[in-house]
Symmetry: C2
Subunit: 351 residues, 2 copies
Amino acid sequence: MSHLVKKRKLDKTRQDRLYFDSYTDVTIHEEMIADHVRTNTYRMAILNNSESIRGKVVLDVGAGTGVLSMFCVQAGARKVYAVEACSIAEQAVNIVKQNNMEDKIEVIRGTVETVDLPEKVEVIVSEWMGYALLHESMLNSVLYARDKWLKPGGIILPHKAELYIAPVSDPVVEDRLHFWYTVKDQYGVDMSCMSDFARGCIMNSDITVNSVHGEDVLSHPARFAELDLHTVTVEELRSVKGKFNFESFGSAAVNAFCVFFTVTFPCPDKPQPLVLSTSPFKPETHWKQAVLYLDAPVDVVQDTVVTGEISMFPSEESARHICIHVDYTIGEHKRQSKTFSIPDWSSGAQS
Amino acid sequence: MSHLVKKRKLDKTRQDRLYFDSYTDVTIHEEMIADHVRTNTYRMAILNNSESIRGKVVLDVGAGTGVLSMFCVQAGARKVYAVEACSIAEQAVNIVKQNNMEDKIEVIRGTVETVDLPEKVEVIVSEWMGYALLHESMLNSVLYARDKWLKPGGIILPHKAELYIAPVSDPVVEDRLHFWYTVKDQYGVDMSCMSDFARGCIMNSDITVNSVHGEDVLSHPARFAELDLHTVTVEELRSVKGKFNFESFGSAAVNAFCVFFTVTFPCPDKPQPLVLSTSPFKPETHWKQAVLYLDAPVDVVQDTVVTGEISMFPSEESARHICIHVDYTIGEHKRQSKTFSIPDWSSGAQS
């Protein structure tokens, strides 16, 4: 609620403390385990890769409650190192015991950048994806683990991530802007002039995490970036960008772009790899979509062309916070640009 | 999400800045205007008191968008001073113009403690109620205005506030604690030991703002405090307390108390005064109810007696934050006590 509170730079230790503190509550773990698309896709992916996992050593980066580590034991892993920096690691220890997997899973409390493993690993598994894929920068830790602990020829689950963007017409925003025109009929007071103020507040430069419905997406989404987890570097993650080009399905008022991602798991025995998708055309996940509101709605008709470029980079105030810059041209309108960032609620990083 | 982040004392200026900043966004004003119970009860109360308002001077404390000031003009006020500290006052100026009431309503930007009015007033109107009635301490400002600006014999709308408490059984908590027992069937991993951890996280000492359903209330609510706005003092608000005594309707697991309030308006022409109620037995308002979770559920049967004492007082860290202390005895169980406070999300006052 306090979007005017000035931000200040957070030192790295404080950023990390706020980040790890946010995982000490049960709610986020409940949300993740209850996200059936997420948890079941990981389970299927791990079980489908049992040929690569059976008898092997696995590193689970950011293990949380340890659920992925236990799936790896179900897939035949000889040993799993479950690395978790936050106090939820204590619960992971209890759960591992309750499932009689103490001999297979070693829960290690610490950051993957500082822990010392007794051996290198053949498999890295991690559920590192944040809002808009890169918020929280946890992929950096996975890459660090890859470079330090993964044996040559080892596998990473998932092994690929892709980012998409699409123009949308969010009807909730239209309703909220229209609301101020309805006050007069209800209370005899004309508040329609509030609609402009409301537009400025709602169509702001926050990255809004929201569920977008498939029917509100105005064109085929464009894939603008692909990350191969075997080769991508931390340096490359400092600027992830790409171009997009849409043709509108029909007449509508574009009021936002939405950004979403997929991650892909190898599936040796199947014709298709296994994909965990956060597309608005697929069943909802706890990631929903990242919605970037334009300053004002823009009308399009069928085949109106929307082109542009999008780049994602860490915030200067806090390296764990993602920013998104979009340059875009809608039809004959002049080129616009807008930079978005994740508001402070997301990690309690208010100052 | 970061309930472990240490609190520190906020100085008064910073408290006020965070408090007033929280009203600069449109969302809170939209929520308040769209709360039909709130806005319409105020409208009815003001129009029903038109005999006391017609030709008189009114002070609107914390006017926001100015809607109550405009209702007062509809009721015949000669002049309304709409005092508002936050930048929403700029919107109030626009709205007043749009309704051609510039000659009647003077929007004054500032706190009621610092503004200078050209005259004393016959009527004070204010919508000052926070979560659990007293969160945000805005009533203090109304009392300050009363003592400084209200003429002898003037009226205050509303003129009375009452606080209630009732024992409840929140089924959402039961579902969330049970969730961890369902994981094994879904994913083949037993996570039932997480239920205890979940109970500690969910049944914590936060004042939770939640909608309680009437059917989850386990006895008649008890009124534990009544504030007469014509006589109550700021000193008395530093500790608002009372006793309660319930008899359970039937068998259930008590897992919380809920606190709610009513405010009452005089209604000269009607047999009954007009009451704005936030009871779980009445239509929902944006205040919902304040829910105070016990450390663990306690079973009761029909006629089990629950007795105790509740007190509300400002937090030591921030005077605008309310704390609630409850001492209670359920049936034959031993006396328990627990102190609750509003978590940091409520005013962005994280440090």
